[in-house]
């Protein structure tokens, strides 16, 4: 199994600013992902974080708005840029081995943009 530490756990930010969320896994994993969970809704995949290369973004998400880094197998960051109130959500980091017998999740970052 893997334990994922995500920080900050919550933040309140001014519109127009940026927030970087960090995700640390306690073991080497193949795949890392970032999800968004808007209030009262399910999880939506933002992107797959690729080690040493550009992330793979899902439809509706772009690198300029959600830049992602993954410098090694156990660490990734997601930045929410030029925030607006519509970005208020829970952002979750996830990790799994390539066989996908299980996906592990961080506790999430609850972001409120005012």
């Amino acid at each position: 199994s893997a334990v994922i530490s995500q920080k900050p756990s919550r933040d309140i930010c001014q519109r127009g600013t940026s927030l970087t969320i960090q995700c640390q896994v306690d073991s080497q994993v193949t795949m890392m992902f970032w999800y968004r969970q808007q209030p009262g809704q399910s999880l939506t995949l933002i992107a797959t974080a690729n080690q040493g290369s550009e992330a793979t973004y899902e439809s509706g998400f772009v690198i300029d708005k959600f830049p992602i880094s993954r410098p090694n197998l156990t660490f990734s960051t997601l930045t929410v840029s030029n925030m607006s109130p519509e970005d208020s959500s829970i952002y979750l980091c996830s990790a799994s081995a390539r066989d996908f017998t299980e996906a592990f999740f961080g506790q999430g970052t609850r972001l409120t943009v005012v």
Binding site: S42, L43, T48, F100, Q107, G108, R110
Partner: protein, 113 residues
């Protein structure tokens, strides 16, 4: 393409009565299926998973689910609900040939005393 449909957005049961949370999936390949639970202000916790072994899967806290290929279903059940079961439940599918999880819309379970 893969998809998952949770047939009920809200389920309300009395404590001590059975729980049934319904999930149907669509997948082009042999899927792996999961149920996750999310308690308020908590992270996602894996309840159980099906990965092409036994079709009846037992998970934590007395939950179980049965994979029925003919019905493309993976319903979650528990014989007797407890107050602590009140949470949001997500059915999740992943194709073994793919690399992403697809989440259902979630079912909010309420347990009444």
């Amino acid at each position: 393409a893969q998809s998952v449909t949770q047939l009920d957005s809200h389920v309300s049961v009395s404590e001590g009565t059975p729980v049934l949370l319904r999930c149907n999936y669509s997948s082009s390949y042999s899927p792996s299926l999961f149920w996750y639970v999310q308690h308020p202000n908590k992270g996602l916790q894996l309840l159980l998973k099906y990965t092409s072994a036994a079709t009846l899967v037992k998970g934590i806290n007395g939950f179980e689910a049965e994979f029925k290929k003919s019905e493309t279903s993976f319903h979650l059940t528990k014989p007797s609900a407890h107050m602590s079961d009140a949470a949001e439940y997500f059915c999740v599918v992943i194709e073994t040939s793919g690399s992403r999880l697809t989440f259902g819309e979630g079912t909010q379970l309420t347990v009444n005393p």
